[in-house]
């Protein structure tokens, strides 16, 4: 297996992200030219399906299938949305893509939008990313000047318009139906599926929503072929992934590694291991909604797999050492989910609120027998009855912590 393979980060630090000329000099927009001059949308879709690329936002849904279901819709008006509403705690991969290589993202958006036959593409950006919004606006302007965007792209029959839509700081708007609601001018609450956004999406038209990191893979796949992409990384989910390693490691940063890499390799080789004088306790994979991995499970492979015990999520890895107070972490998780619960369904709105209250009591050392029973009830309710996955996310880490660290959490004597 090639270890040094780089797809998304290949230009990072090598080119000036503000100059379109720099990106073109290293082979940028060649994929778009290839797509327009040599391929049909159906052929390009075939390549993406061959590649086995799956969504990098967390759920890992096959990108090819999503694009296909939008492509085969007969509606004249279709939309493509790039989901850049990154607000999972500990995750800043999409921000890094915009900072270091925004044109690659834009090229991917243009190609995918043309594949599904969209007349307009939206980029939904987190409202807190002021600097990145400015970068994206500049980049879209540059691409328009070069006729990679706009009417009759590169002399072909394709037209595409891109609009940057700035969010206003709501975690739930990263969920695709909530994101669509937000652009439509509704409260950013998730909608019931079916109908899926691929059939009835933005303004009632078929819509494909893709995560920014997924999109950044597209130029490579079009240029070098889906077959070659499928040989990288693990069999179940090919390709590379951006991992954000943070916490008690020597070099916290964003790393690109093939999917299927072991967690221990990521921590020890990529991030330089645990800091000196600190002892590894556990790692949280996938941001605040991720599961906890203990020392004995460090050898697990990280990939998108429906049957895997630990879902990869956004790719954020938080390494926690023994000096950390678990109560502060519990409170951090719960105050996050309490704030971000949209309030649409009762189990999530009340469940996250009550767990937050209990987490506060735990921190103050005022826990009662009643709370211990209540925790179990609330976790079950969150896991099984909430409207959208946010409730399940809220229960994941808390449940894992309660199961594994009872002694520390309830301050029992050893």
């Amino acid at each position: 297996m090639e270890k040094e393979i780089k797809i998304i980060t290949k230009n990072w630090g090598q080119i000036n992200p503000n100059q379109i000329a720099d990106y073109i000099a290293v082979g940028g927009y060649i994929s778009l030219e290839k797509f327009i001059k040599e391929m049909t949308p159906a052929l390009a879709l075939e390549e993406i399906k061959l590649s086995g690329l799956c969504g990098r936002g967390g759920a890992g849904f096959p990108t090819g299938m999503k694009l296909e279901s939008v492509q085969k819709e007969k509606s004249k008006e279709k939309y493509f949305i790039c989901n850049l509403d990154e607000s999972e705690p500990g995750t800043y991969k999409d921000r890094s893509i915009v900072d270091c290589d925004p044109h690659m993202l834009l090229e991917g958006i243009i190609i995918e939008a043309l594949i599904v036959g969209a007349c307009k593409a939206f980029i939904y950006v987190n409202g807190n990313y002021q600097k990145q919004i400015a970068i994206l606006e500049r980049v879209v302007g540059q691409a328009q000047e070069k006729n990679f965007l706009g009417e009759k792209i590169l002399g072909s029959k394709y037209n595409l318009e891109i609009e940057i839509f700035v969010g206003a700081g709501a975690y739930i708007c990263g969920e695709e139906t909530a994101l669509i609601n937000s652009i439509e001018g509704n409260r950013g609450e998730p909608k019931l599926r079916p109908p899926f956004p691929t059939q009835v999406g933005l303004f009632g038209k078929p819509t494909a929503v893709n995560n920014a990191e997924t999109i950044a893979n597209i130029p490579w796949i079009i240029a070098r072929g889906g077959k070659k992409y499928a040989t990288i990384g693990s069999k179940k989910s090919p390709g590379t992934k951006l991992f954000i390693i943070n916490g008690s490691v020597k070099n916290p940063a964003v790393f690109e590694a093939p999917l299927g890499t072991k967690l221990s390799t990521l921590i020890d080789e990529y991030a330089g291991g645990v800091q000196k004088g600190k002892e590894f306790w556990f790692a949280q994979v996938g941001g605040s909604s991720g599961r906890l991995v203990l020392k004995k499970d460090l050898n697990m492979k990280l990939e998108y797999d429906r049957e895997a015990k630990v879902s990869l999520g956004s790719g954020a890895i938080l390494v926690i050492d023994k000096t950390v107070d678990i109560h502060e972490l519990l409170l951090s998780w719960m105050s996050f989910f309490r704030r971000e619960s949209c309030g649409k369904c009762v189990p999530c709105r009340e469940g996250t609120f009550r767990l937050w209250e209990i987490a506060k009591r735990l921190q103050d050392g005022e826990i009662s027998e009643r709370d211990v029973i209540a925790i179990k009830d609330i976790l079950w309710t969150l896991n099984n009855t909430t409207f959208c996955p946010l409730g399940k996310f809220a229960a994941t880490a808390f449940g894992d912590a309660i199961n594994n660290f009872q002694k520390e959490i309830y301050r029992l004597s050893k």
Partner: protein
Amino acid sequence: MTVEKILLEFDPKPKNILPVLKKINAGFGYVSEKDAQKVADYFLLPLSKIYENASFYDLIKTKRQPPLVIQVCSGANCAVKSAYGVISEIENYLHIKAGDDFNPKVKLEVISCLGQCGSGPVVIVNGNVFTKVTPSSVDDILRNYV
């Protein structure tokens, strides 16, 4: 600048509701019920439709904000670097409680991740971002604002 002027910059299409509310918020610090009514009239929608939007998002306020707003990130990455120590230090320094909405002079808000996880804990004072804050550096930061 008036709300009417802001409204005229946008077409009355549903997708412009959020941008309009954000612009009003940026200009006046919050969206009052009166302003929300003007937006509703312009978009030909009921007031509830506008207000449910305004009250939903973190970056849009529906109440006048005090002159000093301090926000501290409590995402897991900041929390393991003692963000809660910073919060309690600020609480002690200013004699306030986090989340208190009724103090007319100062507000301490605990917020979610801003994507600055590499350099936590993150504190924002009236829009100015401070990174790698420790409980002992709280005094240095807040001295200039109090």
